[in-house]
């Protein structure tokens, strides 16, 4: 097993329960205390709850106070999932029928009723349309009452020129944020999937107005999202998504071969390689040994093995994070910016944000859970 980077010993307990919930009987109350906190920190308490509660025979082994939190998280996830369904129904009405619209990530898992949507706490709605349809889709949403939050000209330009999505929109009164994309990675990013291939293999969902990515592209999207478009911070949930998508979508040796080929066509071999490495090590994902995927250089793997667990695994926040985790978080942040923007643009962006941070800002209300 790859080192968990000094994570709390109960991290092993959380991973073990995610892999096989039948181990609940061997968890002591003091360990439950931490496992629940770690699961909640990584937005996985609902998933853990679903996995345990799908074995009703196990429930007598779960202490009452623990079961309460599992039920609470399941109820909250179910509620948010319902809110998201309502939002998707409203979006289906608002968007012109002639525009093909793709639902991405969490909302797509819900739309397809995938195993990994169960208990999962969804976040925003991410939609994707072809670049040429973007203006029309945006106008239709604005016309139907969605509004973008107020952002300054610089951020506006950042989104529209260098990003892969419009500034987030929201329907008044709705608690769900909408990101409208035209591809799955920022246009300035190092690794760019083949958009033509992405759009060529879209899948219809029975009885729905929306499309979803090809199953293998769903896996690759989750991998590139985690290993390129994130700061690697507190992202264990994304890894759990990838594990679950793999178990759902890949059923044979040839599926695996096809995934590797598709990763190469999209130039996303490296994020996939890393995703499989940590999925196998931490979530016991059944990854075949002989896959035609080129491994990154040994130094890069060593670097990632040090940074990734320290960034992505949740921790018990009773004390400030240790020095190594703070260093890892900074490295994760730098890596993210480096992969997202070419060097000249990155310098310019950092200079702008640096100057801006010197100006006084109004206090921001903490976005509570």
């Amino acid at each position: 097993m790859i080192s968990l980077g000094g994570a709390d010993p109960c991290m092993h307990g959380l991973l073990a329960l995610l892999i096989d919930p039948r181990q609940v009987g061997s968890v002591g109350l003091a360990d439950w205390d931490k496992i629940i906190r770690l699961a909640r920190q990584s937005r996985l308490l609902g998933v853990l709850s679903y996995r345990i509660q799908s074995h009703p025979e196990l429930l007598p082994q779960v202490p009452g106070c623990v079961l309460g939190h599992l039920r609470s998280a399941a109820a909250y996830s179910a509620h948010r999932t319902q809110v998201l369904r309502v939002e998707l129904a409203a979006l289906a009405k608002a968007l012109p029928a002639e525009i093909p619209v793709v639902v991405l990530k969490g909302a797509a898992y819900i739309l397809q009723d995938l195993e990994n949507a169960r208990g999962r706490l969804p976040g925003d709605v991410d939609l994707m349309v072809a670049y040429n349809d973007l203006k029309q889709a945006e106008a239709a949403l604005l016309g139907a009452g969605w509004a973008a939050e107020e952002i300054n000209d610089y951020d506006q330009r950042y989104y529209r020129e260098w990003s892969h999505e419009l500034p987030p929109m929201r329907r008044p009164g709705s608690s769900v944020e909408l990101d409208l994309h035209h591809t799955i990675t920022p246009v300035t990013a190092r690794l760019k999937p083949d958009t033509t291939l992405l759009f060529a293999d879209l899948q219809a969902v029975e009885g729905k107005r929306f499309l979803v990515l090809h199953p293998q592209d769903q896996i690759l999207h989750a991998a590139v999202h985690l290993f390129q478009d994130s700061e690697l911070f507190a992202n264990l949930r994304d890894l759990v998504d990838i594990d679950s998508l793999i178990r759902t979508h890949l059923n044979s040796e040839s599926d695996w071969q096809a995934l590797a080929v598709r990763a190469a066509r999209h130039h996303l071999e490296r994020p996939l390689w890393y995703a499989l490495r940590y999925c196998r090590a931490w979530l016991a994902t059944p990854v075949p040994d002989a896959l035609p995927l080129a491994a990154p250089p040994a130094a890069a793997i060593w670097w990632m093995d040090w940074v990734f667990p320290r960034c992505t695994l949740p921790r018990i926040p009773d004390r400030p994070p240790p020095f190594s985790r703070r260093v890892a978080a900074q490295l994760g942040l730098l890596r993210h910016q480096w992969l997202r923007l070419p060097p000249a643009l990155l310098l310019r962006h950092l200079a702008h944000k640096g100057l801006q941070s010197l100006r006084p800002r109004p206090a921001v209300q903490h976005k509570a859970e």
Binding site: A30, L67, H69, R71, Y76, Q82, D318, H366
Partner: protein
């Protein structure tokens, strides 16, 4: 086992402060255990008064919520000192002035219950009981609910909760969520004048709810914190200056709507909360009670509760 633990008020203040800063104190509210750590002296001082009857338990292995009350960041630790409330490292509110650390903590704990305790239906109501016969008092803010709740405890009812009526959807029981009763503005003087038995914390002026002071739960309520009650009576109190005591029996559908829509997580729990609230309304008679004199209202309530018990016993015998 519980008897071996000292009550918070019997501890030397320095020992309590040491426990708070070097380890932690786990508060047993009945339905939930809340672990608290702090180094703020004003908090410990006020805490000892309003949580005096609670026990200082040995550190249990498990707590439902892990909180910390800490000082402001940077210069705010010294100038215009502040308190911050943290739950698992998250700070849900802006800092408060340090002298108001206790009401800040109380609101913070309410936030934890409201956000992360959806295994129960959380009624926005006071709950009191005689034995295991529970009264649910639901009303919007400003209707004198907390004042009546406080007065009932001071006249021998067992306090289960002032703010969060915890209804278990699996058993239909009401669980104690025993916190100090937050009295606001004029209620503070009303309760102070009502009896000299009332243990009140300091008055915090100028909070977002005006003046606030906390009434300490009594020993009997603390000792019974792990005993649930059965819902027997649903009451919608309304204080009106100089009003004669009047009660109006509410039709089930009206009582249902008023109780359900006064809940913190009714919409979140969907069918679960619908069924749980419907069962409460089925089992209880529901009244609107207009009053101006506390003792008169309490006597009326006592009578209603024994009537409802007689009626329930008769119904059970008939069944």
């Amino acid at each position: 086992m519980i008897a071996a633990c000292p009550r918070i008020r019997d501890l030397p203040p320095s020992l309590l402060a040491q426990r708070f800063s070097e380890a932690s104190v786990t508060l047993d509210y009945g339905a939930a255990l809340v672990r608290v750590r702090t180094v703020l002296k004003p908090f410990v001082r006020d805490f000892q008064r309003v949580y005096g009857a609670f026990f200082l338990a040995e550190e249990a292995g498990f707590a439902d919520f892990h909180t910390e009350v800490c000082s402001g960041k940077g210069l705010r630790a010294i100038f215009g000192p502040q308190s911050r409330f943290l739950i698992d490292g998250i700070q849900p509110f802006d800092p408060f002035p340090r002298e108001q650390a206790l009401p800040h903590f109380e609101w913070g704990v309410n936030w934890c219950f409201g956000k992360r305790f959806n295994q129960h239906v959380l009624l926005h109501s006071g709950v009191l009981a005689l034995g295991d016969r529970g009264v649910i008092m639901a009303a919007p803010p400003g209707s004198g609910k907390s004042t009546l709740t406080a007065a009932m405890m001071l006249r021998g009812f067992r306090l289960l909760s002032d703010e969060f009526g915890v209804l278990c959807p699996h058993t239909g029981q009401l669980w104690p969520m025993l916190k100090p009763v937050a009295l606001k503005n004029r209620s503070i003087e009303v309760i102070r004048a009502y009896t000299d038995q009332a243990i009140l914390g300091p008055v915090y002026g100028g909070t977002r709810k005006g003046d606030v002071a906390h009434l300490a739960p009594d020993e009997a309520s603390v000792d019974a914190r792990r005993l649930p009650a059965r819902p027997h009576l649903v009451l919608f109190p309304l204080f009106r200056e100089g009003a004669a005591l009047t009660t109006r029996r509410l039709p089930s559908e009206e009582a249902f709507a008023r109780l359900a829509f006064n809940s913190f997580n009714y919409d979140l729990l969907g069918r679960t909360s619908f069924n749980a609230v419907a069962d409460v309304i089925d089992a209880c008679s529901a009244f609107e009670l207009e009053y101006s004199r506390l003792d008169e209202a309490i006597e009326c309530l006592r009578a209603m509760l024994s009537e409802s018990t007689v009626a329930a016993a008769a119904a059970a015998a008939a069944a």
